[in-house]
Assembly symmetry: C2
Homo-oligomer: 605 residues x 2
Amino acid sequence: MRIGTWHTVGRGAEFCVWAPARQQVEVVLESMPDRPVALARDAQGYWTGVVPEAHPGSFYRYRLDGKTDRPDPASHCQPRGVHEASCVVDHAAFEWQEADWCGIPLESMVMYELHVGTFTAEGTFDAIIPRLHHLKEVGINAIELMPVAQFPGERNWGYDGVYPYAAQWSYGGPTGLKRLVNAAHATGMAVILDVVYNHLGPEGNYLWDFGPYFTDRYRTPWGPAVNFDGPESDHVREYFLQNALLWFREYHIDALRVDAVHAIYDRSATPFLMELSRATEVYAASSGRRHLLIAESNLNDSVVIRPREQFGFGFDAQWSDDLHHALHTILTGELDGYYADFGKPEQLRQCLRRGAVYAGEYSQFRRRRHGNSPDGRPARQFVVFSQNHDQIGNRMLGERLSKLVSFEAAKLAAALVLFSPYVPLLFMGEEYAEETPFPFFVSHGDPELVEAVRRGRREEFLTFSWAGEPPDPQSPDTFASAILQWERKEGGRHAQMLSFYRELLRLRREVPALANMEKTHMSVDWLKEESVLRMERWAEGSRIMALFHLRGGSIELPAPPDTWAVLLDSSDSRWGGPSSAPPVSVGPEHHLSLSGHTAILAERT
Amino acid sequence: MRIGTWHTVGRGAEFCVWAPARQQVEVVLESMPDRPVALARDAQGYWTGVVPEAHPGSFYRYRLDGKTDRPDPASHCQPRGVHEASCVVDHAAFEWQEADWCGIPLESMVMYELHVGTFTAEGTFDAIIPRLHHLKEVGINAIELMPVAQFPGERNWGYDGVYPYAAQWSYGGPTGLKRLVNAAHATGMAVILDVVYNHLGPEGNYLWDFGPYFTDRYRTPWGPAVNFDGPESDHVREYFLQNALLWFREYHIDALRVDAVHAIYDRSATPFLMELSRATEVYAASSGRRHLLIAESNLNDSVVIRPREQFGFGFDAQWSDDLHHALHTILTGELDGYYADFGKPEQLRQCLRRGAVYAGEYSQFRRRRHGNSPDGRPARQFVVFSQNHDQIGNRMLGERLSKLVSFEAAKLAAALVLFSPYVPLLFMGEEYAEETPFPFFVSHGDPELVEAVRRGRREEFLTFSWAGEPPDPQSPDTFASAILQWERKEGGRHAQMLSFYRELLRLRREVPALANMEKTHMSVDWLKEESVLRMERWAEGSRIMALFHLRGGSIELPAPPDTWAVLLDSSDSRWGGPSSAPPVSVGPEHHLSLSGHTAILAERT
């Protein structure tokens, strides 16, 4: 039972849609409005049929019970937006040029999250392609696209998508996305796609007319929860399972980043997320390619990334917001909202050791104990970052870290993330200290909804210590303000930051103590009254010591023996360090003079 | 932090109540209404203090913010009902006479569920004591009390309790319950208590005034869900954890049967039920007694009974409704409501083999796949029954199985349950084929609530094929109709059934193939077009074959070799079998003639 519309040359298109409570379902082609084609219902409520006249590019709707015309819930293409007809796509027509592509393992991935609409001035998949070389050259080998499922209008972060199977038309639609993946693979880069399975957006969601996709048994912050465990939920699951496989099979997507799994409520004995990982594994085995699942989870529950044999969901990895928060609060001093749970140096040390701060401890923000032990989960299962779309965009003004802290502190953040044993993720532009903000933006069509979003955005920050008002999310200017200014990377601070990131990533690749996460060891401790974090990492024949001076400024430390040499010094003028101060020096008196924020030493072998 | 009110001789009573949002909490003793005693608040919102004038028997209320007087949420005693003052109890005063009692292991337990109010005409804990000898003599070694937490009025199944810490006053209160446990232990019987942690009853619940015990994030069929994973839930958990330990410590309860764990919604990384099993284990280790947790669960999810090391909740056992349903539907032909999922002979065989019918199969009633594999869970973790309060009382008229099927079929049901490898549970009176129904009854004080319950009860059965109306749940006559008629057991069919149960339980105890569940083997198959179920069980030096002729009547079967002898024949006139027919005979032509419903053969050794 292949959900959706599938074209076969010489045969027209095959239609399949689930509408269990309907008495009649017909396909109405725009080209023959007076000749609806009746579909046949099976026992489970799937309606299927072949329409010889349907060709790639044909516009169609489903007519429900002879009266209600609706776009296809599994539409692959919505050229006229979320309220209009769906369009037949011929997936077989695309010519792939990456026959032997089999993916990049998590252990060596360096991820780069980007928003298609604001990554370039053009805001398309195609416009990304010329930039891939730059990313590759910096040391990035996986781009992670924020959600591309068709959303209302042309400006949206992507979490308001209402056609999970359709690649956003204004980004370039299905073929544009394929061209991007094709080019990325040709460059040796993987493509991760952010998918939203916990809710659908507030405008243009016609799934209600087809079946019980949603439930009121649970609540999400963004609307009704998806029905993953109630009556008929087997078919709702099937809809999302097939969606995941669609991206793998037809778009050659390497990995899915599954949005907010904590908002997927599912009490069943075999949870949807477990079935998703099983289906992904089965598909990967059949395709011979590597396909990964990465969860965004605020549960701090090892169930997400435990193997299914250990009764886990079997995800390959999950985001570690904890490391971000622990680092961000120390660098910025901010303690608003959920940052209230962080800010303590010990948390940063703890998180670097185990991938999580909260593993059962009391959370002030949640007003309850939070999390369980991540012990036993390998480092490759945690994705870490000092910036991402949420941590930037959920701020009232959407400021990047580089706008909040000094240039030297921003370099420290980069180094700490990239020298950690976890899988690093950068947010677009971070590598050259881009200054454009990433504010929240939408382009809804419903005036009431627009007003509600504006109001919600204003109210969200009332309890924060920030002055002012958030920019209007509906305004095109807000969107425009987020577009990267690529010319910046060519000079000044930006170019210096870029070469710093390049060097960090080179070391991460080339130094054995950093290169292979599963075979290295690590110790982390605080020196000088919790002002300097010392991280040592070692492997067979390789040992490094990273010193992070969180407060910055000159400081004297007990020096390691003379067998150690400086590998990287953030205060070096090459990357815009304070030229007046001497670089790190290992003194004759066994004192180490750290003049900047970050120094990496390596033991001579 | 010991929640509740605790009396110490010579010191008065110590009070402790959680009321985090209150500005002031005072104890108002009835004996000194004008002198409220202020309690002191700690950082977590617990209010504590000592009141020297409070003695066992003192009535008191908490005064909240100087104006609202409320009974104690952790009251140990509510002599005047759910709306009136709480009463101080001195737990130390009771003299226990079972110093070396350490409990009965699940492997050898035979449970007997009883409702205190209708088990005897008196309806008290004390009135149960003289009956213990009868139960012991039948072969029962554990009584399971339906919930005794104080409920509104004097007639209630117990699931409307609103004082989880208070033993129902009309049953005999705290001391009555202790006398019963004391007597049971003296007789060598364990006491299991049904506790309800998923909701509180609809009348007399004043917990709302104290703290966020409830949440609207989830729904239960019986009202707001308990807040086990939201803000402040650590303290809500503590309230129920201490409740469990109260029953163990002060009442010497052997095991808790935790009601409807599927209605305990808890998304946390360390679920409440896992903490409950850990706390129980720790307490059992310290007390040196065996304390067990048994779940009522409709999740068919092995997580409930998996050890915590395997990321399970760590419960010792759970009810297997599936076996009941599989057996009941075949015997009665009923397929209403949730019975729609059953009725197939193969399900009965499957369930006897693994403890569950649904382990991922599609459920027609739930309209989705249901359950996961129970593989690896030992037989002692499944509690089985052919009757219980729910399966009788959820019927419109509350008829017992013995009223629905023939006397011979009722014997078959008993034999099938007791010869299964699982832990058997009987419902009070089942052992002598009691005829009184067990209809739903309440004695609420709120007229609107009474009407709502009546209406709900009527509406519940509208879609069923049963004619007529349910008896009025509020009527004392409905309650009275449920009271056991003990004199019945002395004669006729009742006495015959009683001796049959006695013999079944004797065999279960004495035949090695039946006695030790973990060391026996079993095979189950259907003969004669799924009319005869053959269950073989064997252990070192012992082998039995049980033949259950589900349709009843005379049937010829291929006989086992002459080395087999009849151990029990349900058609024997000793237990009212059809005297006209010959008993089971192993014929010379290697044919076995089964004239009744059930025959147990044993291999001669």
